[in-house]
């Protein structure tokens, strides 16, 4: 080993604390980027493979009832490869040991072999046999939630009659990666499940012999699904189709793709910030590390080492430090990516998981870190190598300080000398001080923008569920019912108040723009389920006209006063021109509302409902649930408390886990920055500090100078971090807007507080670690050498 390499190894060992701290910073950037990119890649790849292997359909349509021969007509559409007709209906289930009514989506599967499309990933058991009326395959999450296994029984209200079903299989389906019940926002596997039954069994149960009410189509490669959708609509309109839709609009897939989009947004913004901070910091620390080696560089040159040889020596030092960080980051990123993907796979229910991260994320993260590190080093090494050896071996001239106008002020006259040392040091190298402050500030900013999610979620729950929803239970019907039904529900045990609602499936059109959205009819002044503005105002509906969410207004390009065409997708399918009366802001979905009486009049129908909101006496809930299970028209029962709970659970399982990684990394970042800042302050200040010790200053007094400098920079960093955090959080929130979900931009004071606390704590920990080194200051040695 050459002596230079030996020097390298010893330098690295001597600097191990700093090497590790810089490594941690690099690792946090690299790790986050790798984690995000690999998770996205894996999720996308898994979904693609799953869809491919299990023949997930590309176009879907629901009708009231269509004859089987229509399948041939659909198959004749250009670009259609395969057609599968089905019976799909919701039913109320009674699961032993579970008080509340459960909603099951019954989906038919052929009894003579595997389906052509939307094949089941059978986890246990088998498909239902031909002729068996009571055999069912359960979706795995539902079976798990109720601990149901092969051979277990459950009861279902099928077409108004209680039927005993026997579990013969447990499966997953590409159609239900994200299993969500009617009207729900989040999966709730205890209250909603999918059951696959034999095609003929369901046909006869729902009086659909020789007919179907649902169809999926597989397309030839390269076929435009929208084109097929239009053709399908044309063929099925007369059978009561509520409109065909492509895979992109299929509920489960739509949620999954939304999630991937959100992850991409996170991967774009936050790891970039981390990498930038890491690069920034690596650059700064290494430049100063090399600057300290100035006299060694002069000495090496005096011995005849070439500039290139010397540069290579320091580049190697940087390479090792970067390699430590990159290695740690790769390792952490790989495992966190795997962990994340596994969690997503658990949540999104894939039968298998493809986590085969390619080299690209690793290479990209490493390259970004290396370039940043090398740039910082090369400029510093060049600076030292340019000097003639004799000059380089002499220490640099003492820096020239100047008295600023500030120091002549009366106030500054009162400062003691140690404070002056701290202030002048910071003011003498404003750029360097700024860089350190910016590093700490960015760590705080990343913390704020990560923790903002918690505030946003709390805010959504508060506004969307707690303030806007006064009902305890919402009952939905499979078909439009007379308003008398609502009054009938009001007489059930424990029901204190009822409020009718009606949803009309429709296409809203304004010029060339079309949106599929149900128009919801609710009372002008709502007592239970409020039309709630994001600002916290309950919106009263005008007697006529639409009140639409700003998201929908934006999608349609309309404003209050404009007219919107409503193409109703049920009943006699009227096409109506309705003015937009007002808009309101909401976080979830893009709803459209109308006064329920006005909506019924437009439909030319007597007072009708598709659902009823109930306020319930909690003491009589069980009794109510028992009664509800007996009402055949009921197709869904949702509970507000359960929805809130699921919302929290879902968030905790997905977004919050992800966010918590960012929080941990941000803490590492804060510590990495402050520790390095304190170490550099110590190495540059050790001579002064030793001098002060000789002059009779105590350890505590010289610690003040060391802590003062890092502390002052942290103090400057905090407001900077708060401001950056505000901007960063806003950027991320804006980047996150989807049709489904708009994240409210809410940052609680406590969030700023926590972020600041972490910044202060990181500084305190760093300074305390470094302070221990003050005890080992070589008082005599320092005084014997020149400055």
């Amino acid at each position: 080993m050459s002596p230079l390499d030996r020097k390298l190894l010893r330098d690295l060992w001597r600097l191990r604390g700093q090497v590790l701290a810089i490594g941690m910073v690099i690792a946090s950037g690299v790790g986050l980027l790798v984690m995000s990119l690999t998770a996205i890649e894996a999720l996308q790849e898994t979904a693609d493979a799953y869809y491919e292997r299990y023949r997930f359909a590309q176009v879907f349509a629901r009708v009231k009832r269509a004859p089987e021969y229509m399948a041939d007509r659909l198959a004749a559409i250009e670009g259609v490869q395969s057609v599968e007709t089905r019976v799909v209906r919701n039913a109320v289930l009674d699961v032993a040991g579970f008080e509340e009514p459960v909603i099951g989506q019954l989906v038919s599967v052929p009894e003579d072999g595997e389906p052509l499309l939307n094949r089941l990933a059978m986890r246990q058991g088998r498909y239902p046999r031909l002729g068996a009326q009571d055999e069912a395959v359960l979706s795995e999450p539902f079976a798990e939630a109720h601990r149901l296994g092969i051979g277990d029984q459950l009861r279902a209200v099928i077409n108004g009659r209680w039927r005993e079903l026997k579990v013969v299989g447990i499966a997953l389906s590409p159609e239900y990666v994200y299993t969500i019940g009617p009207g729900a926002l989040m999966p709730d596997d205890r209250r909603f499940g999918v059951l696959w039954l034999g095609h003929e069994a369901l046909q006869s149960a729902f009086d659909l012999d020789g007919a179907f009410n649902d169809v999926s189509l597989g397309l030839l490669r390269g076929t435009d699904p929208e084109h097929v959708v239009d053709r399908v609509d044309g063929l099925l309109a007369r059978y009561g189709s509520i409109g065909a839709y492509a895979r992109a609009d299929q509920l489960s897939n739509w949620f999954l793709m939304n999630e991937i989009t959100q992850l991409k947004t996170l991967a774009r913004i936050l790891p970039t910030v981390f990498l930038a901070v890491a690069a920034f910091l690596t650059n700064m620390v290494l430049a100063r590390l090399v600057a300290v080696e100035r006299s060694e560089i002069g000495l090496l040159k005096a011995f005849g080492y070439s500039n290139a040889a010397i540069a290579w020596h320091y580049v190697k030092l940087v390479l090792v430090i970067s390699a430590v960080g990159i290695g740690l980051g790769w390792f952490a990123g790989y495992w966190l990516g795997l962990y994340n993907t596994t969690m997503y796979a658990d949540f999104y229910r894939f039968p298998f998981l493809l986590y085969r991260p390619g080299p690209a994320p690793f290479a990209a993260a490493a390259a970004a870190s290396l370039v940043a590190a090398l740039l910082g080093t090369i400029s510093a090494v060049r600076g030292a190598a340019m000097l003639p050896p004799a000059e380089a071996m002499r220490p640099p001239a003492p820096p020239l300080f100047r008295r600023s106008r500030l120091s002549r002020l009366a106030l500054s006259q009162a400062l003691d000398q140690p404070t002056r040392i701290v202030l002048r040091q910071v003011a003498r190298w404003p750029l360097r001080s700024f860089v350190t402050s910016a590093g700490i500030g960015l760590a705080v900013a990343v913390l704020i923008s990560s923790m903002q999610w918690l505030d946003a979620i709390d805010h959504i729950v508060d506004v969307y569920f707690l303030q806007a929803q006064g009902q305890d239970v919402t009952v939905g019907f499979a078909e439009v019912r007379s308003a008398d039904v609502a009054r009938g529900l009001g007489r059930l045990p424990g029901v204190m108040t009822t409020e009718p609602m009606r949803a009309v499936p429709a296409k809203l059109r304004s010029g060339p723009r079309v949106e599929r959205e149900a128009v919801q009819g609710v009372p002008a002044h709502q007592e239970l389920q409020h039309v709630y503005d994001a600002t916290g105002q309950s919106v009263d509906l005008p007697p006529e006209g639409l009140v639409i969410s700003t998201m929908l207004a934006e999608l349609l390009g309309v404003a209050p006063g404009d007219k919107v065409t409503i193409e109703v997708q049920e009943g006699r399918r009227p096409v109506l021109e309705v003015p937009v009366a007002a808009t309101f802001e909401t976080y979830i979905g893009s709803p459209a509302y109308m006064e329920i009486g006005a909506l019924n009049r437009l439909m030319r129908e007597p007072p009708s409902v598709t659902g009823v909101h109930l306020r319930v006496d909690p003491r009589r809930r069980a009794q109510l649930f028992r009664e509800l299970k007996q009402i055949p028209q009921v197709s869904s029962v949702s509970l507000r408390d359960a929805a809130v709970q699921t919302f929290h659970e879902t968030m905790a399982k997905t977004l919050l886990i992800y966010v918590s990684f960012f929080i941990v990394f941000a803490c590492a970042l804060a510590f990495g920055v402050t520790y390095n800042a304190a170490r550099i302050a110590l190495s540059e200040r050790s001579r002064e500090l030793a001098t002060l010790r000789v002059l009779g200053f105590t350890r505590a007094e010289i610690s003040y100078i060391l802590i003062g400098e890092t502390g002052l920079l942290t103090l400057l960093a905090l407001p900077l971090g708060v401001a950056c955090g505000y901007v960063l959080a806003m950027t991320i929130v804006r980047g996150f807007d989807t049709e489904l979900f708009r994240v409210p931009f809410v940052i609680e004071a406590a969030t700023y507080g926590w972020a600041i606390l972490v910044g202060v704590f990181a500084t305190a920990a760093s300074v305390l670690l470094v302070r221990r080194r003050l005890d080992q200051l070589d008082l005599i040695g320092v005084l014997k050498t020149r400055e």
Binding site: R403, Q417, E688, T691, L695, G696, L779, I780, E787
Partner: protein, 252 residues
């Protein structure tokens, strides 16, 4: 160690026994251990420093004079022997007490001035007066060393001699009982060196501070009351100058 440093009477050579002693050292040894090698730096020093005395320590490098000075100044601890400052045992105390000893009673001047580059001349002196019990005005201390018009200059704006005089002002501004100077002229040319020595001499006469001055320049010995020559960790020779020669008359 709270009492103010005593001020001595008129300065003249006299028998040490008849005057109060500032520092007493008996059988002092110091052995440096580096790895497995033991290097004796001091091998039994006996020394009394009378209040107000100006002593020059001469000796080649490695003779132990800096080690002795560091122990006297509370910067280093001896391996064995005894050392007292006035009534205080310097051997039996810890870091905290030694810090307090340096803070209240000792002034240091080094070869490389060790000024704080971010503080002006005045502020470098104030650094010490702020933590001392009975300091003089920092400006007055700088006036004593002839730097009245340099109060607001930073070290980088001062010549070597001026920087050393700031260091001297900083050392004496607390009115120390003892002033320890380690090669104060070592980094200076002779002309500037004499200016610095004059400053030390002036302070010694004005304040009566007990002063120990290390040098390897034998000429400087002439300005002392007493000259000690160190070699191999022992006092090899001791002589008393009948008359102190003023610094300005020295040449080398």
């Amino acid at each position: 160690m709270n009492e103010p440093p005593g001020t001595a009477g008129p300065i003249a050579s006299g028998e040490p026994g008849q005057r109060a002693l500032t520092l007493r050292v008996k059988g002092l040894t110091k052995t440096y251990r580096s790895g497995e090698v033991e290097v004796p730096a001091l091998r039994g020093i006996d020394l009394d420093l009378a209040t107000g005395e100006l002593v020059v320590l001469l000796g080649p490098s490695g003779s132990g004079k800096s080690t002795l000075l560091n122990i006297l100044g509370g910067l280093d601890s001896a391996t064995s022997g005894a050392a007292w400052f006035e009534d205080h045992d310097l051997m039996q105390v810890g870091d905290r007490e030694l810090t307090r000893y340096r803070r209240e009673h000792v002034g240091f001047v080094f070869q490389f001035y060790n000024l704080i580059p971010s503080l002006t001349a005045l502020e470098n002196v104030a650094l010490v007066t702020e933590i001392a019990a009975h300091p003089m005005d920092p400006a007055a201390a700088l006036e004593i060393v002839g730097l009245r018009d340099r109060l607001h200059h930073f070290p980088a704006q001062l010549s070597g001699g001026e920087q050393q005089r700031v260091a001297i002002a900083r050392a004496i501004a607390k009115r120390p009982a003892i002033l320890l100077c380690d090669e104060p002229t070592g980094a200076l040319d002779s002309q500037t060196g004499i200016l610095v020595l004059e400053a030390i001499e002036h302070i010694h006469e004005e304040l009566g501070t007990t002063t120990v001055l290390i040098t390897h320049n034998a000429v400087i010995a002439d300005m002392a009351d007493r000259v000690l020559v160190l070699g191999d960790g022992l006092i090899q020779q001791e002589r008393r100058n009948p008359m102190r020669r003023p610094a300005r008359e020295l040449t080398w």
